[in-house]
Symmetry: C2
Subunit: 463 residues, 2 copies
């Protein structure tokens, strides 16, 4: 059962089947593998990817297709015969179809939606109507519903009839004639109940429902807190629209966090595995932000030019420039990352900005005092060890460094923590207030703070 | 069904029930709420948290307890009477108990394990024996198993008998007399099969099993790829040890990613929501890394001191120090974050280091050329607009800035991408090679690169 061993022999057995050139043998081989193993074969044999999909039974082809990376999905759709594409799209569960289509350009979507049969087309267009990142986009209409007055036997018959086509049968939904959700009941309760009992007798009215317009983060939280494998999605008037299954939420959580981390690092979301993405694409995703940051950082040269007089007179100030601006940058990155993460998991909303600012003010003063003190002591001690190393005014230099650090660190925590909230408030993604972005912002202002403090402490000497 | 509305009235109804001082009424009220709502009440009423837990039926108390934040769990365990604590711990599912106990100091674990009944104690000690972060720690032994020769009717009877105590009945496991796993079969297949059919006839031998020693990341990936709500865990000899359910993996994924993001930002993992953690704790989690980075960054002052002669003679060099070191820092943070993320989701392993280094070398040259060119043009253009702004040697300065940028950016991408891999190789957590950490490393070396390039281009003038 070792994964390594299996992988090798799987590939070998695949090559054997391919070598036989016997269509039936290839189909038989592929249809007897786990879908994750077939996906593995597709990744390892790019030349055969379209053939592998077309040699699977349509149901299994759909199961494999939905777990592939987007670029591979696109290539396969491009190479499959139009008829097979239509069959495949019709077979895909509605939620996976929506998520695939929403990644394509709109003219491609239009063409592909045309190939769907009328019922699936209606479902797909309605799901695509929900905003990106909403629970509606994750919904599937393939669930089992029953009515209150049904008996347990009726329910088990319904399950037998519809189980093949529904995403999960772990939970059964009770609705009334108006289609309103009354309860969700686990299948285990039906299996354990005598057949003549009615659904009403099994109901406890304790159910958790999501709304189609809810953020997907809400679904994540609801699944974490409620020990369910599927949750119902209702309209504002409590009509049951569909269900969301926990595996889709796990996919979303993985993708969301990966994108957040990439953005925090100052890259656009890659959307492809690092080792698979082409060097040119990778370059394009990285260079954009770097240029923006570079242009911003150019202001440091302008700011320094402005203080050139002070620098000329007092070169010792230069020695501490990197130390001071990067301390501001580090505290700023730290604060912004903490806030981005807390916002990503829903611990902080824009409404909390005042609480955050108060907390970060205190943090900034505490952190700034610690770093300022260390900086102050550093200058005094060095000057004690090698007298004259910082010129004749080492105490003033020490005070300048210490207070500049306090100011820069405080400014770093405040701007680092407020920036993600501000971006969110303006409708953007807080994760773009990345660590490098905050660091750059704080670098420029940090220089101004430093030279202003220096001006204050060294006034008598400079003037 | 609006969440907002419900929350308000829930709290009000809770206060009403409390005001009645009628134990039965309080119990009745609490036992009729969703477990996530009870958790909400506990968070909103810290003074009552222990009472809320002790007014629930033991089964529901355990369901609520397991979704609470760790600090709240600790407080409740501290305040509950010893007898109730024992009952609660015995009632907790084995996987949740393990994850709670593994967060406590070892003497507390010893005391609490003593309160377990012999069977639960054996299970707990065995689960605690698996390494942290392994699949073994997430396992629960509460699953339903059947034998190959059982009939569908036997299986349904087994399900009726054991369903109450198992985490999920969506999947049933087939084992032989030696306890080896033969297959997993979804409950839907049993419900749809005629009662006299045997398990053997339903088996397809296609099952995915995890190993107890596997990293939890493997479980995450397996769930994403295999459309299952539970996966079996086997020993090296294929004995069925337990199962892992998808909801536990969702918890782990959420926590892991949050911790990774916090570490990338240069903070220790908070383990508590941002707004709940005390200011002092938050300060402690942040100040440690900041001091380390600050001490590292002090080397910039030392490096600058070393080049003081050059600086004195050529103050214009100073103007570009922040621009150059922060460009290195930004590309370094970007590279390290990309690699950390790719390692976190298993796209890159230590074995890929050579491929990564080749890719990053090319990226570094491309990014460095772009930024270097922009820097070069910046100096030439400025010097054209206001002649003399950079002294008499603006072309040499422009070349210095351009080539220093190329060197620093290349060094940033290479060290930023290799550091997480190196840390992983040494057995550490790659996420600690945080953006600020890489930025600091690149700052110091960036200065040395800059002044070395300057020395090369300005040699004739400096000497």
């Amino acid at each position: 059962m070792s994964l390594e061993l299996e992988e090798i022999s799987l590939q070998e057995r695949f090559m054997e089947a391919v070598a036989s050139e016997d269509k039936l043998q290839i189909m038989d081989f592929l249809n007897n593998q786990n879908i994750s193993d077939v996906a593995e074969l597709i990744y390892d044999n790019e030349d055969y990817e379209t053939q592998i999909i077309s040699h699977l039974s349509m149901h299994r082809a759909a199961s494999v297709f939905k777990i592939l990376e987007l670029p591979v999905q696109k290539r396969i759709i491009k190479h499959l015969p139009a008829f097979t594409t239509a069959e495949l799209l019709n077979e895909l569960p509605a939620d996976d179809r929506t998520s695939f289509l929403s990644e394509l350009p709109s003219n491609a979507v239009r063409e592909l939606v045309k190939t769907l049969n009328p019922e699936e087309r209606k479902i797909t267009l309605s799901l695509l109507g929900y905003p990106e990142g909403s629970v509606g986009r994750l919904m599937t209409p393939d669930y089992i519903y029953v009515y209150e007055h049904d008996t347990v036997e009726d329910v088990l018959n319904t399950i037998r009839k519809f189980a093949k086509n529904s995403e999960t049968i772990d939970v059964i939904y009770v609705i009334n004639q108006k289609g309103e959700l009354l309860d969700d009941i686990r299948i285990r309760d039906f299996i354990m109940a005598p057949p003549e009992k009615t659904v009403t007798e099994l109901m406890d009215g304790r159910f958790i429902a999501l709304h189609a317009g809810d953020d997907q983060e809400v679904a994540n939280e609801a699944f974490k807190m409620n020990n369910r494998v599927a949750l119902p999605v209702v309209s504002k008037s409590n009509k049951l629209l569909g269900i969301v299954t926990i595996d889709d939420v796990l996919w979303v959580a993985n993708e969301e966090f990966s994108e957040d981390i990439q953005k925090i690092g100052g890259t656009e979301a890659l959307d492809e595995p690092y080792l698979d993405i082409s060097l040119m694409k990778l370059f394009k995703k990285r260079v954009g932000w770097l240029i923006v940051l570079f242009l911003g950082e150019m202001l440091t040269a302008t700011a320094m030019k402005y203080f050139e007089g002070e620098i000329q007179k007092f070169v010792v100030l230069v020695l501490f420039i990197p130390l001071i601006i990067s301390s501001g940058g580090n505290t700023g990155s730290q604060a912004s990352t903490l806030i981005i993460q807390a916002m990503a998991v829903g611990e902080i909303t824009v409404a909390n900005w005042w609480r955050v600012i108060r907390r970060e003010f205190i943090q900034g003063v505490m952190l700034g005092t610690v770093l300022g003190l260390i900086g102050f002591i550093r200058v005094i001690v060095w000057a004690g060890i090698s007298p004259g190393v910082y010129g004749a005014h080492e105490v003033r230099v020490a005070f300048t460094v210490g207070f500049a650090l306090l100011g820069v660190v405080l400014w770093g925590t405040l701007s680092g923590s407020m920036l993600p909230i501000l971006i969110k408030k303006l409708g953007g993604d807080p994760a773009v207030s990345s660590a490098p972005f905050v660091a750059t912002l704080v670098d420029v202002t940090g220089l101004i703070i430093y030279f202003s403090v220096a001006y204050l402490f060294l006034q008598g000497i400079l003037l």
